[in-house]
Symmetry: C2
Subunit: 254 residues, 2 copies
């Protein structure tokens, strides 16, 4: 008897940014697995059950959720933002690949959402308006050297860079080190956006120049966008400045 598992993206945190598809998927599931702050966003009925876990336990959470679904239940695993971007969809796939054959028979679906970099970008203009990349700055699951290599490759080729998981208590120095790497190859006037809790009541979106970017201003809820050499700032007097990356590029920096 194989049940159903839906990996649901709840968007950046504002209820207005949850798609109807995600809301419907929440209404249809019986058991909800996820990191507690994401589960806390849900308004569940009395017959719907939450099973919270910590944010470093993605694989254990996936195994539990898949076991429950394999028993024939309707299970949801929730992520903030989009579940396919540094979130639960990959953990579920890893667990399916390593798990018992019956897990491959589960009716799996993934419901996409607005991921953090899109929400932050929307609040400041269009910094992702040209070629860009997304890098998780967490070295829990990959070596730091590989992160530096990717930062340098991306900046050197003119990509705008969105950094996820920039900092945490267990990873205090990585963001500062990333800025140091990038300062070696990007102009000091490159715009850097610190986007915290975009769309939520405690939102804080700030723009710095790379030369002045201070890693200590970021926290776990911050998504950082580092411009390319083409990225521009438009001053607007009393209105907040806009940051955008033009649609055209000359490639003359190389």
């Amino acid at each position: 008897m194989s049940g159903r598992l839906t990996v649901i993206g709840l968007g950046p945190g504002n209820a207005d940014q949850v798609t109807p598809q995600a809301a419907n998927a929440v209404a249809e599931a019986s058991f909800f697995y996820g990191y507690k702050p994401y589960l806390d966003r849900l308004e569940l009925r009395d017959d719907q059950i939450r099973i919270a876990s910590d944010n470093r336990e993605e694989l254990a959470r996936s195994n539990e959720a898949l076991s429950k679904a394999a028993e024939g239940h309707s299970v949801a695993v929730v992520s903030g933002g989009d579940p396919g971007v540094f979130a639960m969809a990959a953990a579920i796939c890893e667990a399916i690949e390593a798990g018992p054959a019956e897990w491959r028979a589960i009716d799996l679906s993934v419901v996409p959402g607005v991921t953090a970099m899109l929400a932050v970008a929307a609040r400041i203009g269009a910094p992702l308006g040209h070629d860009f990349c997304a890098i998780s700055l967490s070295d829990n699951l990959k070596p730091w050297d590989l992160i530096e290599l990717r930062l340098l490759a991306a900046a050197g080729a003119g990509f705008v860079i969105a950094l996820y998981n920039p900092i945490s208590k267990a990873r205090p120095w990585q963001l500062g080190r990333a800025f140091e790497c990038l300062k070696a190859i990007l102009p000091g006037i490159t715009p850097v956006i610190f986007g915290r809790a975009a769309g939520r009541p405690d939102e804080r979106i700030e723009v710095f120049l790379l030369a002045d970017a201070d890693a200590e201003k970021a926290d776990m809820s911050t998504c950082i966008i580092i411009g390319s050499p083409e990225t521009r700032i438009i001053r607007r007097g009393e209105r907040p400045a806009l940051v955008y990356t033009p649609r055209s590029a000359t490639g003359s920096k190389r």
Copy 2:
């Protein structure tokens, strides 16, 4: 008298994937500018007016929309997917920067949406589960050499690559050439996803290996995701295969 301009992301095309924030923004605007297929998705009232334009006229459309807003009207510019990803938000910012000072006083907001690569990824598993980049394959606004440089930099550093604007009548050879470039440095068994019209009735999601990827199978509505050397395929018998990129990476390919 300065009005209001909202750049609205309508998501991949399924009404279930339009956020409430986007739906509310549509309800509040009076004049709608956009590429006709996106305007056609809207259910407007009799008092709301559409002004359609072609998909190569982003800057002219932006100027028209900003002029209308500067007259004091409530104006919407609509994009499919997310307006900040190879779409109208950057064109609006370009027009503001080049335009009259009064355009900087317009109340501008951007409403994010689910961009194509997220919708495609959700339908196949989690191919964007690790570091990734998004590249527009259109050489209308940047030189082809720069696109090749970015493809090689991204693939060489282990990024998954999402390609937007892969092909059109005016750009028939670029996608095939991109595959040739990538074949030189990625394994022939690298998964390549052709995701067309994700979430819409005419959806078609297909997985090939890079060695067999045929550019002619793509069209203007296709978003292409090229795996990294870490990206894996999970066969599931009668169910469609899953494609995912694990959260961990060793960096051993370099």
